[in-house]
Protein backbone atom coordinates (compact mmCIF):
# COMPACT_ATOMS: atom_id res chain seq x y z
CA UNK A 1 0.00 0.00 0.00
CA UNK A 2 2.62 2.48 1.07
CA UNK A 3 5.03 1.43 -1.65
CA UNK A 4 2.42 1.68 -4.38
CA UNK A 5 1.45 5.11 -3.11
CA UNK A 6 5.05 6.22 -3.34
CA UNK A 7 5.36 4.77 -6.81
CA UNK A 8 2.21 6.55 -7.88
CA UNK A 9 3.56 9.75 -6.39
CA UNK A 10 6.78 9.38 -8.34
CA UNK A 11 4.79 8.70 -11.47
CA UNK A 12 2.71 11.82 -10.93
CA UNK A 13 5.79 13.96 -10.44
CA UNK A 14 7.49 12.33 -13.41
CA UNK A 15 4.46 13.19 -15.49
CA UNK A 16 5.85 16.72 -15.40
CA UNK A 17 8.12 15.75 -18.25
CA UNK A 18 5.17 14.39 -20.13
CA UNK A 19 3.11 15.96 -22.91
CA UNK A 20 4.46 19.49 -22.79
CA UNK A 21 1.44 20.56 -24.76
CA UNK A 22 0.26 17.89 -27.13
CA UNK A 23 0.92 15.52 -29.99
CA UNK A 24 3.78 17.52 -31.44
CA UNK A 25 2.30 20.97 -30.89
CA UNK A 26 5.07 23.32 -29.79
CA UNK A 27 7.42 20.40 -29.24
CA UNK A 28 10.84 22.05 -29.38
CA UNK A 29 12.39 25.47 -28.71
CA UNK A 30 13.48 26.16 -32.29
CA UNK A 31 10.03 25.69 -33.78
CA UNK A 32 7.52 26.49 -31.03
CA UNK A 33 5.01 29.07 -32.13
CA UNK A 34 6.53 29.34 -35.61
CA UNK A 35 4.83 28.88 -38.94
CA UNK A 36 6.93 25.74 -39.39
CA UNK A 37 5.73 24.06 -36.16
CA UNK A 38 4.09 20.75 -37.01
CA UNK A 39 1.20 19.96 -34.66
CA UNK A 40 0.08 16.57 -35.95
CA UNK A 41 0.44 13.99 -38.68
CA UNK A 42 -2.20 11.43 -39.71
CA UNK A 43 -2.21 8.67 -42.32
CA UNK A 44 -5.29 6.57 -42.97
CA UNK A 45 -7.25 4.72 -45.62
CA UNK A 46 -9.52 7.04 -47.61
CA UNK A 47 -13.23 6.89 -48.31
CA UNK A 48 -12.05 5.27 -51.54
CA UNK A 49 -10.26 2.31 -49.99
CA UNK A 50 -7.75 2.27 -52.85
CA UNK A 51 -6.31 5.50 -51.42
CA UNK A 52 -4.29 6.66 -48.41
CA UNK A 53 -4.88 10.11 -46.89
CA UNK A 54 -2.01 12.10 -45.39
CA UNK A 55 -2.91 15.00 -43.08
CA UNK A 56 -0.28 17.46 -41.86
CA UNK A 57 -1.26 20.23 -39.47
CA UNK A 58 0.88 23.24 -38.53
CA UNK A 59 0.51 26.28 -36.25
CA UNK A 60 -1.04 25.27 -32.94
CA UNK A 61 -3.96 26.72 -31.00
CA UNK A 62 -5.21 29.30 -33.50
CA UNK A 63 -8.20 31.15 -32.10
CA UNK A 64 -10.96 32.11 -34.56
CA UNK A 65 -9.47 35.63 -34.60
CA UNK A 66 -5.91 34.33 -35.16
CA UNK A 67 -7.23 32.15 -37.97
CA UNK A 68 -8.35 35.18 -39.99
CA UNK A 69 -4.73 36.26 -40.45
CA UNK A 70 -2.95 32.87 -40.25
CA UNK A 71 -0.91 32.09 -43.32
CA UNK A 72 1.29 29.29 -44.59
CA UNK A 73 4.91 30.44 -44.78
CA UNK A 74 6.07 30.70 -48.40
CA UNK A 75 9.61 29.83 -47.32
CA UNK A 76 8.56 26.59 -45.64
CA UNK A 77 8.16 23.31 -47.51
CA UNK A 78 6.05 20.53 -46.00
CA UNK A 79 7.53 17.22 -47.04
CA UNK A 80 5.71 13.92 -46.52
CA UNK A 81 8.30 11.14 -46.46
CA UNK A 82 7.42 7.58 -47.49
CA UNK A 83 9.63 4.54 -46.90
CA UNK A 84 8.45 1.61 -48.98
CA UNK A 85 11.10 -0.98 -48.00
CA UNK A 86 11.27 -0.81 -44.21
CA UNK A 87 14.66 0.88 -43.70
CA UNK A 88 13.22 4.17 -42.34
CA UNK A 89 14.81 6.05 -45.26
CA UNK A 90 12.48 7.87 -47.63
CA UNK A 91 12.01 6.33 -51.07
CA UNK A 92 9.30 8.80 -52.09
CA UNK A 93 8.34 12.31 -51.04
CA UNK A 94 5.30 14.51 -51.53
CA UNK A 95 6.34 18.16 -51.30
CA UNK A 96 3.95 21.05 -50.61
CA UNK A 97 5.06 24.66 -51.09
CA UNK A 98 2.73 27.67 -50.76
CA UNK A 99 3.01 30.56 -53.21
CA UNK A 100 0.66 33.43 -54.01
CA UNK A 101 -2.49 31.91 -52.52
CA UNK A 102 -1.94 28.42 -53.90
CA UNK A 103 -0.38 25.30 -52.43
CA UNK A 104 1.82 23.59 -55.02
CA UNK A 105 2.47 19.86 -54.76
CA UNK A 106 5.15 17.67 -56.32
CA UNK A 107 5.12 13.89 -56.14
CA UNK A 108 4.97 11.21 -54.99
CA UNK A 109 8.47 11.20 -56.45
CA UNK A 110 11.91 9.93 -55.45
CA UNK A 111 13.80 12.70 -53.62
CA UNK A 112 16.93 14.17 -55.22
CA UNK A 113 18.70 13.11 -52.03
CA UNK A 114 17.48 11.63 -48.76
CA UNK A 115 17.81 13.34 -45.39
CA UNK A 116 17.79 16.84 -44.01
CA UNK A 117 18.24 18.86 -47.19
CA UNK A 118 15.76 18.97 -50.07
CA UNK A 119 15.29 20.55 -53.45
CA UNK A 120 11.89 20.86 -55.09
CA UNK A 121 11.22 17.86 -57.34
CA UNK A 122 9.62 19.69 -60.24
CA UNK A 123 10.09 16.53 -62.33
CA UNK A 124 7.44 14.81 -60.17
CA UNK A 125 3.71 15.02 -60.82
CA UNK A 126 2.86 18.70 -60.36
CA UNK A 127 -0.45 19.69 -58.78
CA UNK A 128 -1.87 22.72 -57.02
CA UNK A 129 -4.90 23.85 -55.05
CA UNK A 130 -6.11 27.30 -54.09
CA UNK A 131 -5.60 27.85 -50.35
CA UNK A 132 -9.05 27.96 -48.77
CA UNK A 133 -9.84 31.29 -47.10
CA UNK A 134 -11.02 31.32 -43.47
CA UNK A 135 -14.76 30.72 -43.38
CA UNK A 136 -14.99 29.72 -47.05
CA UNK A 137 -16.08 26.31 -48.25
CA UNK A 138 -13.19 23.88 -48.66
CA UNK A 139 -11.48 24.26 -52.05
CA UNK A 140 -10.51 20.83 -53.38
CA UNK A 141 -8.34 20.09 -56.41
CA UNK A 142 -7.79 16.73 -58.07
CA UNK A 143 -4.97 15.58 -60.35
CA UNK A 144 -3.62 12.19 -61.42
CA UNK A 145 -6.00 10.36 -59.09
CA UNK A 146 -4.95 12.48 -56.11
CA UNK A 147 -6.96 15.06 -54.10
CA UNK A 148 -5.60 18.17 -52.43
CA UNK A 149 -6.68 20.65 -49.76
CA UNK A 150 -4.83 23.43 -47.93
CA UNK A 151 -6.28 25.89 -45.43
CA UNK A 152 -7.62 26.39 -41.91
CA UNK A 153 -9.48 23.51 -40.23
CA UNK A 154 -10.64 22.66 -36.74
CA UNK A 155 -7.73 21.07 -34.83
CA UNK A 156 -8.72 17.38 -34.85
CA UNK A 157 -6.52 16.66 -31.83
CA UNK A 158 -8.18 16.22 -28.42
CA UNK A 159 -6.56 16.09 -24.99
CA UNK A 160 -7.21 17.49 -21.51
CA UNK A 161 -4.00 19.49 -21.20
CA UNK A 162 -5.37 21.74 -18.46
CA UNK A 163 -5.93 18.79 -16.13
CA UNK A 164 -2.49 17.53 -17.01
CA UNK A 165 -1.10 20.90 -15.91
CA UNK A 166 -3.04 20.59 -12.67
CA UNK A 167 -1.48 17.17 -12.10
CA UNK A 168 1.96 18.67 -12.66
CA UNK A 169 1.20 21.57 -10.36
CA UNK A 170 0.23 19.09 -7.67
CA UNK A 171 -3.32 20.36 -7.39
CA UNK A 172 -4.71 17.12 -8.82
CA UNK A 173 -3.65 13.49 -8.57
CA UNK A 174 -5.16 12.26 -11.80
CA UNK A 175 -7.33 13.09 -14.77
CA UNK A 176 -10.97 14.06 -14.31
CA UNK A 177 -13.89 12.07 -15.62
CA UNK A 178 -15.15 13.39 -17.91
CA UNK A 179 -12.12 15.41 -18.99
CA UNK A 180 -12.18 18.67 -20.94
CA UNK A 181 -10.73 18.96 -24.45
CA UNK A 182 -8.24 21.85 -24.30
CA UNK A 183 -8.21 21.98 -28.13
CA UNK A 184 -11.96 22.49 -28.42
CA UNK A 185 -12.65 25.66 -30.34
CA UNK A 186 -9.15 26.03 -31.81
CA UNK A 187 -7.90 25.72 -35.37
CA UNK A 188 -4.77 24.70 -37.27
CA UNK A 189 -3.58 25.13 -40.85
CA UNK A 190 -4.03 21.81 -42.64
CA UNK A 191 -2.62 20.21 -45.75
CA UNK A 192 -4.54 17.12 -46.83
CA UNK A 193 -3.40 14.88 -49.68
CA UNK A 194 -5.19 11.72 -50.79
CA UNK A 195 -3.03 9.41 -52.90
CA UNK A 196 -3.74 6.12 -54.68
CA UNK A 197 -2.00 3.26 -52.87
CA UNK A 198 -0.59 2.22 -56.24
CA UNK A 199 1.57 5.39 -56.24
CA UNK A 200 3.17 4.65 -52.84
CA UNK A 201 3.99 0.94 -52.93
CA UNK A 202 0.69 -0.76 -53.70
CA UNK A 203 0.46 -3.32 -50.89
CA UNK A 204 2.07 -4.28 -47.60
CA UNK A 205 3.13 -1.50 -45.24
CA UNK A 206 4.93 1.80 -45.61
CA UNK A 207 6.58 3.99 -43.00
CA UNK A 208 5.76 7.67 -43.17
CA UNK A 209 6.62 10.93 -41.44
CA UNK A 210 6.43 14.63 -42.20
CA UNK A 211 9.03 17.39 -42.11
CA UNK A 212 9.06 21.14 -42.39
CA UNK A 213 12.03 22.51 -44.30
CA UNK A 214 13.01 26.17 -44.69
CA UNK A 215 14.34 27.71 -47.88
CA UNK A 216 17.96 28.71 -47.39
Amino acid sequence: MKKSKILLGVAVIAVAGFFAIAADHMDAPAVTGGSNDITDFYAFQGQNTNNIVFVTNVQALLSPTDTQSAKFDENTMLEINIDTNGDAIEDLVIQAIPKDGKMYFFGPVAPAQTGLSSTVRTTGVASSVAITAPGANAMIATNAGMSFFAGPRDDPFFFDVDQYKAIIAGTATGFENPGTDTYAGTNVLSVVVEVPKSMIGGSGSINSWVETKRKQ
Binding site: A11, D24, V55, D87, D154, R214
Partner: protein, 182 residues
Protein backbone atom coordinates in the same frame (compact mmCIF):
# COMPACT_ATOMS: atom_id res chain seq x y z
CA UNK B 1 18.11 29.66 -103.35
CA UNK B 2 20.29 32.15 -101.59
CA UNK B 3 17.52 34.73 -101.65
CA UNK B 4 15.14 32.13 -100.19
CA UNK B 5 17.55 31.44 -97.39
CA UNK B 6 17.69 35.11 -96.56
CA UNK B 7 13.90 35.31 -96.64
CA UNK B 8 13.53 32.27 -94.37
CA UNK B 9 16.09 33.65 -91.98
CA UNK B 10 14.22 36.95 -91.90
CA UNK B 11 10.91 35.19 -91.26
CA UNK B 12 12.41 33.05 -88.50
CA UNK B 13 13.93 36.12 -86.92
CA UNK B 14 10.62 37.98 -87.17
CA UNK B 15 8.76 35.02 -85.67
CA UNK B 16 11.23 34.76 -82.85
CA UNK B 17 10.80 38.45 -82.17
CA UNK B 18 7.02 38.10 -82.25
CA UNK B 19 7.02 35.09 -79.96
CA UNK B 20 9.36 36.86 -77.60
CA UNK B 21 7.08 39.88 -77.58
CA UNK B 22 4.03 37.73 -76.98
CA UNK B 23 5.53 35.93 -74.01
CA UNK B 24 6.82 39.21 -72.71
CA UNK B 25 3.31 40.62 -72.87
CA UNK B 26 1.99 37.55 -71.05
CA UNK B 27 4.49 38.05 -68.30
CA UNK B 28 3.58 41.67 -67.79
CA UNK B 29 -0.16 40.98 -67.82
CA UNK B 30 -0.37 37.80 -65.71
CA UNK B 31 1.16 36.66 -62.42
CA UNK B 32 4.75 35.48 -62.55
CA UNK B 33 5.15 31.74 -62.94
CA UNK B 34 6.07 30.19 -59.58
CA UNK B 35 9.72 29.47 -59.13
CA UNK B 36 10.95 26.56 -57.06
CA UNK B 37 14.73 26.82 -56.98
CA UNK B 38 16.91 26.57 -53.92
CA UNK B 39 17.66 24.26 -51.06
CA UNK B 40 15.36 23.61 -48.11
CA UNK B 41 16.81 22.63 -44.72
CA UNK B 42 14.93 20.63 -42.11
CA UNK B 43 13.51 22.29 -38.98
CA UNK B 44 10.73 20.07 -37.58
CA UNK B 45 9.61 16.51 -38.12
CA UNK B 46 7.06 14.15 -36.63
CA UNK B 47 5.44 10.80 -37.19
CA UNK B 48 3.73 9.20 -34.18
CA UNK B 49 1.91 11.59 -31.86
CA UNK B 50 3.66 12.87 -28.73
CA UNK B 51 6.86 10.86 -29.16
CA UNK B 52 9.18 13.85 -29.02
CA UNK B 53 7.08 15.50 -26.35
CA UNK B 54 7.03 12.47 -24.08
CA UNK B 55 10.36 10.79 -24.58
CA UNK B 56 12.83 13.43 -25.72
CA UNK B 57 14.31 15.58 -22.99
CA UNK B 58 14.09 19.35 -23.46
CA UNK B 59 17.79 19.73 -24.25
CA UNK B 60 17.56 17.21 -27.10
CA UNK B 61 14.32 18.28 -28.73
CA UNK B 62 15.83 20.45 -31.46
CA UNK B 63 18.48 17.80 -32.17
CA UNK B 64 15.82 15.06 -32.37
CA UNK B 65 13.94 17.11 -34.95
CA UNK B 66 16.97 17.03 -37.25
CA UNK B 67 17.99 13.39 -36.68
CA UNK B 68 16.84 11.27 -39.62
CA UNK B 69 14.57 8.38 -38.53
CA UNK B 70 17.07 5.71 -39.60
CA UNK B 71 19.54 7.11 -37.02
CA UNK B 72 17.08 7.78 -34.20
CA UNK B 73 17.07 4.36 -32.52
CA UNK B 74 20.85 4.26 -32.16
CA UNK B 75 20.90 7.82 -30.82
CA UNK B 76 17.84 7.79 -28.56
CA UNK B 77 16.65 4.30 -27.50
CA UNK B 78 18.56 4.30 -24.20
CA UNK B 79 17.35 7.81 -23.36
CA UNK B 80 13.78 6.78 -24.22
CA UNK B 81 14.04 3.79 -21.88
CA UNK B 82 15.37 5.95 -19.06
CA UNK B 83 12.53 8.39 -19.66
CA UNK B 84 9.93 5.63 -19.61
CA UNK B 85 11.23 4.32 -16.29
CA UNK B 86 11.28 7.84 -14.88
CA UNK B 87 7.67 8.36 -15.95
CA UNK B 88 6.56 5.03 -14.53
CA UNK B 89 9.11 3.50 -12.13
CA UNK B 90 6.82 0.47 -11.73
CA UNK B 91 6.92 -0.33 -15.46
CA UNK B 92 7.33 -4.04 -16.18
CA UNK B 93 5.53 -4.66 -19.44
CA UNK B 94 2.55 -3.05 -21.12
CA UNK B 95 -0.68 -4.32 -22.65
CA UNK B 96 1.27 -5.22 -25.79
CA UNK B 97 3.56 -7.45 -23.71
CA UNK B 98 6.58 -5.24 -24.43
CA UNK B 99 9.28 -4.80 -21.80
CA UNK B 100 10.93 -1.41 -21.46
CA UNK B 101 13.72 -2.07 -23.96
CA UNK B 102 11.37 -3.53 -26.58
CA UNK B 103 8.79 -0.78 -26.18
CA UNK B 104 11.28 2.08 -26.39
CA UNK B 105 13.17 0.34 -29.18
CA UNK B 106 9.95 0.34 -31.20
CA UNK B 107 9.22 3.98 -30.37
CA UNK B 108 12.70 5.46 -30.88
CA UNK B 109 12.50 5.16 -34.66
CA UNK B 110 9.77 7.74 -35.04
CA UNK B 111 7.94 6.68 -38.18
CA UNK B 112 4.22 6.04 -38.60
CA UNK B 113 3.64 2.63 -40.15
CA UNK B 114 0.68 2.59 -42.52
CA UNK B 115 -0.96 -0.54 -43.86
CA UNK B 116 -1.85 -0.48 -47.55
CA UNK B 117 -3.90 -3.67 -47.12
CA UNK B 118 -6.84 -2.70 -44.92
CA UNK B 119 -7.62 -1.21 -41.52
CA UNK B 120 -5.56 1.85 -40.61
CA UNK B 121 -5.58 2.67 -36.90
CA UNK B 122 -3.22 3.67 -34.11
CA UNK B 123 -4.77 0.96 -31.93
CA UNK B 124 -8.30 -0.40 -32.08
CA UNK B 125 -8.00 -3.34 -29.70
CA UNK B 126 -6.96 -5.66 -32.52
CA UNK B 127 -4.76 -3.78 -34.97
CA UNK B 128 -1.68 -1.99 -33.62
CA UNK B 129 0.09 0.87 -35.40
CA UNK B 130 -1.33 0.37 -38.87
CA UNK B 131 -1.87 4.11 -39.32
CA UNK B 132 -3.54 6.97 -37.49
CA UNK B 133 -7.07 8.12 -38.14
CA UNK B 134 -8.47 11.48 -37.06
CA UNK B 135 -10.72 9.86 -34.45
CA UNK B 136 -8.08 7.61 -32.84
CA UNK B 137 -7.71 8.42 -29.13
CA UNK B 138 -3.93 8.34 -29.38
CA UNK B 139 -3.31 10.01 -26.01
CA UNK B 140 -5.23 7.29 -24.17
CA UNK B 141 -3.37 4.60 -26.11
CA UNK B 142 -0.03 6.08 -25.12
CA UNK B 143 -1.05 6.73 -21.50
CA UNK B 144 -2.28 3.15 -21.23
CA UNK B 145 0.92 1.70 -22.72
CA UNK B 146 3.10 3.83 -20.42
CA UNK B 147 1.12 3.67 -17.18
CA UNK B 148 -1.41 0.85 -17.54
CA UNK B 149 0.86 -2.12 -16.86
CA UNK B 150 0.59 -5.57 -18.45
CA UNK B 151 -3.18 -5.74 -18.03
CA UNK B 152 -3.90 -2.07 -18.77
CA UNK B 153 -5.36 -1.73 -15.27
CA UNK B 154 -2.58 0.01 -13.29
CA UNK B 155 -2.52 3.74 -12.37
CA UNK B 156 -6.09 4.15 -13.57
CA UNK B 157 -6.22 7.90 -12.89
CA UNK B 158 -3.18 8.41 -15.18
CA UNK B 159 -3.96 5.95 -17.95
CA UNK B 160 -6.77 7.96 -19.58
CA UNK B 161 -7.54 11.67 -19.82
CA UNK B 162 -11.23 10.83 -20.33
CA UNK B 163 -11.48 12.95 -23.47
CA UNK B 164 -12.46 10.41 -26.05
CA UNK B 165 -13.41 12.40 -29.13
CA UNK B 166 -12.93 15.66 -31.00
CA UNK B 167 -15.19 18.67 -30.37
CA UNK B 168 -16.42 18.62 -33.98
CA UNK B 169 -17.46 15.57 -35.98
CA UNK B 170 -15.23 14.55 -38.89
CA UNK B 171 -16.44 14.13 -42.45
CA UNK B 172 -16.43 10.74 -44.16
CA UNK B 173 -15.27 12.44 -47.37
CA UNK B 174 -12.34 14.61 -48.43
CA UNK B 175 -10.88 16.70 -46.80
CA UNK B 176 -12.22 14.80 -43.73
CA UNK B 177 -11.29 17.48 -41.15
CA UNK B 178 -14.03 19.70 -39.78
CA UNK B 179 -14.43 23.32 -40.88
CA UNK B 180 -12.56 25.80 -38.67
CA UNK B 181 -14.13 27.60 -35.75
CA UNK B 182 -14.91 31.12 -36.97
Amino acid sequence: MKFNNIKITAIVALMALTVYNCSNDDDSNGPKAPEFSGTYAQEDQMARPAISTVFVSMGNKDAFNVTVPSKQAAAYQVAFQNKLLALNPGYTTNALGMDAATFTGALATDVLTVSLDGTTTFFDGTNVLTGRTLADDVIDVELLLIFGGPMGTDNSTLSSDNVDANDKPFSSSFPYLAAPHM
